[in-house]
């Protein structure tokens, strides 16, 4: 795929590789992947396990660095950044939603949502913003609850509120419905899309579930570390 520099991409990755060493052997988790994602787009990354989709998600989400290749997130080249800068990028520009929610169990919903703002060094007004974020996902009346007191769907909503509270450029959802029953799964997907439309946050779905991928307008299929197919619905 040709990346046109004139177009505004929020995610612009060119020829990404990720190589792991297994003894003497080099294993290519990513073997030259180029991806461009426009602002406000909803994209699904699909592929069987071992296809490199988790590796791609980690790199796009700034959790990991590519072995080679260029990657710019929201106009900022990030592929060569040091750990501390990368942590700041994650904090400001990336929101994560995980399959298993990953909420801090000893903290209330409100405190969980506040956490990214704390790491941003923001103290003033963080409580109010966290409350607003919870209201936006329909949990305004559950702010004082701990994750164990919430249903799976509710927990994932808290996670979505947490992911969006710092107004990121992209929202990465890794199998967001994988631990939910179909009804709450559907609700969570609808919420994610609603946030995408209302806020214009780019949504990247990483999944092997065709059902989830069907919410995306574009699907990127990976296999053996390479893009094998791109489909636009």
């Amino acid at each position: 795929m040709e990346l046109e520099s004139t177009q505004e991409w929020v995610v612009q990755a060119h020829d990404l590789t990720k190589v792991y060493r297994m003894g003497d052997q080099k294993v290519y988790a990513l073997a030259g992947v180029s991806v461009g994602i426009a602002p406000s787009e909803v994209v699904a990354i699909m592929g069987p396990s071992g296809s490199g989709k988790s590796t791609l998600m980690n790199i796009l989400g700034c959790l990991d660095r590519p072995t080679s290749g260029e990657y710019s997130l929201d106009g900022e080249p990030v592929s060569k950044l040091r750990d501390e800068r990368l942590a700041r990028i994650r904090n400001r520009k990336v929101g994560f939603v995980f399959q298993s929610f990953n909420l801090l169990t000893r903290h209330t919903a409100l405190e969980n949502v506040e956490l990214p703002m704390r790491y941003a060094g923001q103290v003033k007004g963080s409580r109010e913003r966290a409350r607003a974020a919870l209201e936006a996902v329909g949990l305004g009346d559950r702010t004082g609850h701990r994750p164990t007191e919430l249903s799976g769907g509710q927990q994932q909503r808290v996670a979505i509120a947490r992911a969006l509270v710092n107004d990121p450029a992209i929202l990465m959802a890794d199998e967001p419905t994988g631990a939910l029953d179909s009804r709450s799964g559907r609700e969570v997907m609808e919420l994610l899309l609603k946030m995408n439309t209302e806020r214009g946050t780019t949504l990247i779905l990483v999944t092997h579930d065709a059902n989830v991928a069907s919410y995306a307008r574009r699907t990127i299929h990976l296999r053996d570390g390479q893009v094998v197919e791109e489909g636009v619905q």
Partner: protein
């Protein structure tokens, strides 16, 4: 995250594992408590030694006769010796010389009797040895010159004979069956005197009176002990040599043998202090080892905690926590652990001190253990240093986890 948030988070995660946290800080509690108890005990022993020796004066030398089998005719200490020692040409730093004789005896008032130590003393004896009066006056030069039958009572003697320590001046007591008029009562000194000076259970009479009337065999000009006051403690060694020189010449003893002995209470005190210092450091050091073990306990539990919470660390990193954020988070936990342990340890050490005091009091010893501020400071500083030192490795390990690996862990 700011410091307040860090500390709150630390308390929260420590509270989540109450029993574990409690057991972990126990090591620090015991360590700090024993360091404080040991150091306070050492200081207490030193304090009680010092107060016992305080009565002796730090720039005083006691000269006593010492029979020596190699000397055919040992000489007693005499009034002539006193005069010679008083001469600044002989002893350059001398600022006073007093003399005394002591003799066990029986004192009586009305139907009461009490065994006492009778001290025949020169008029300057009381002021030179730093005695203070509850009432009345000390013995005077006139009392000594006129062989007066007057007495100054030690506080304990006064209590035994009169059940009180005031309103006694003017009363007449019996001493070895003879009447003596009380002219003064001494303040309680409380300290042991080791027989080197008059204690609370003594009666002081003029030296001349004791020589002629109270000893079983009257002596004309002999004394049992000469106290030489030196103008400055630094001159003690020089003065000791000069005193020996004067007495050797006067007693005509061969070179290298003496029929007297010069004793410096301060030197004894100094070496005792040195011994207790060494002992305190030793005991404190042994106690500090348990603090070290406590620190290792903290490190161990923090390592477990990091392993258990790898996923949480990964999540926090995904949300934007920097290396420093994670490092501080775990460091805060270990510091909170060791500081709380330290504070409880201080409390426990203080209680141990009170316990020792109670035991000491009920057994009649005058050992008082005071909570030593520097020991508290040291224990607090040491325990937080242990928190940082032993917490750093686990915290660093947590901080260095890569987010991808940490998130992948179960």
């Amino acid at each position: 995250m700011n410091a307040g948030q860090l500390i709150r988070e630390a308390f929260r995660s420590l509270f989540a594992n109450k029993l574990r946290s409690l057991l972990t800080i126990l090591g620090i509690v015991i360590g700090v408590a024993s360091v404080i108890a040991m150091v306070s005990l050492g200081r207490g022993v030193q304090g009680s030694l010092n107060s016992q020796f305080a009565g002796m004066g730090s720039s005083l030398l006691n000269v006593m006769p010492m029979p020596n089998p190699t000397i055919p005719n040992p000489q007693p200490l005499t009034l002539g010796d006193i005069e010679a020692l008083s001469n600044p040409y002989n002893v350059s730093a001398v600022s006073g010389v007093a003399a005394s004789l002591s003799q066990a005896g029986l004192a009586g008032y009305g139907s009461r009797e009490s065994s006492v130590t009778i001290f025949g003393v020169t008029a300057n004896y009381t002021t030179m040895n730093g005695y203070k009066l509850i009432e009345g006056r000390f013995l005077s030069e006139e009392d000594v010159l006129g062989q007066g039958t007057v007495a100054v009572l030690g506080s304990q003697t006064a209590r035994k004979l009169f059940d009180r320590q005031r309103g006694i001046v003017g009363e007449v007591i019996r001493l070895q069956g003879q009447p003596y008029r009380v002219v003064g009562v001494l303040e309680t000194r409380g300290s042991a005197t080791f027989g080197l000076s008059a204690g609370d259970g003594s009666i002081l009479v003029p030296l001349s009176t004791a020589q002629t009337r109270l000893l079983p065999q009257p002596v004309r000009d002999q004394v049992a002990q000469i106290d030489v006051l030196i103008s400055h403690p630094d001159a003690l060694d020089e003065a000791t040599e000069q005193i020996k020189q004067v007495l050797r010449v006067r007693h005509e003893t061969p070179v290298g043998v003496e029929d007297f002995y010069v004793f410096a209470p301060k030197q004894l005190l100094d070496s005792l202090n040195q011994m207790t210092n060494v002992l305190t450091i030793f005991l404190g050091g042994v106690a500090a080892i348990s603090l070290l073990v406590g620190g290792i306990g903290i490190m161990n539990i923090m390592l477990v905690s990091v392993t258990e919470r790898t996923r949480e660390i990964g999540l926090r990193k995904a949300l934007g926590a920097s290396r420093r954020d994670i490092l501080l988070q775990f460091l805060a936990e270990s510091i909170v652990l060791s500081l709380v342990g330290g504070l409880l340890g201080i409390l426990a050490g203080w209680l141990i001190g009170i316990g020792i005091n109670m035991v000491a009091q009920s057994s009649g010893s005058d050992l008082t253990i005071t909570m030593n501020f520097s020991a508290v400071l040291l224990a607090t500083a040491f325990s937080s240093a242990i928190g940082i030192f032993f917490g750093f490795y686990p915290a660093n390990r947590a901080a260095n986890l890569t987010p991808v690996e940490a998130l992948r862990s179960e």
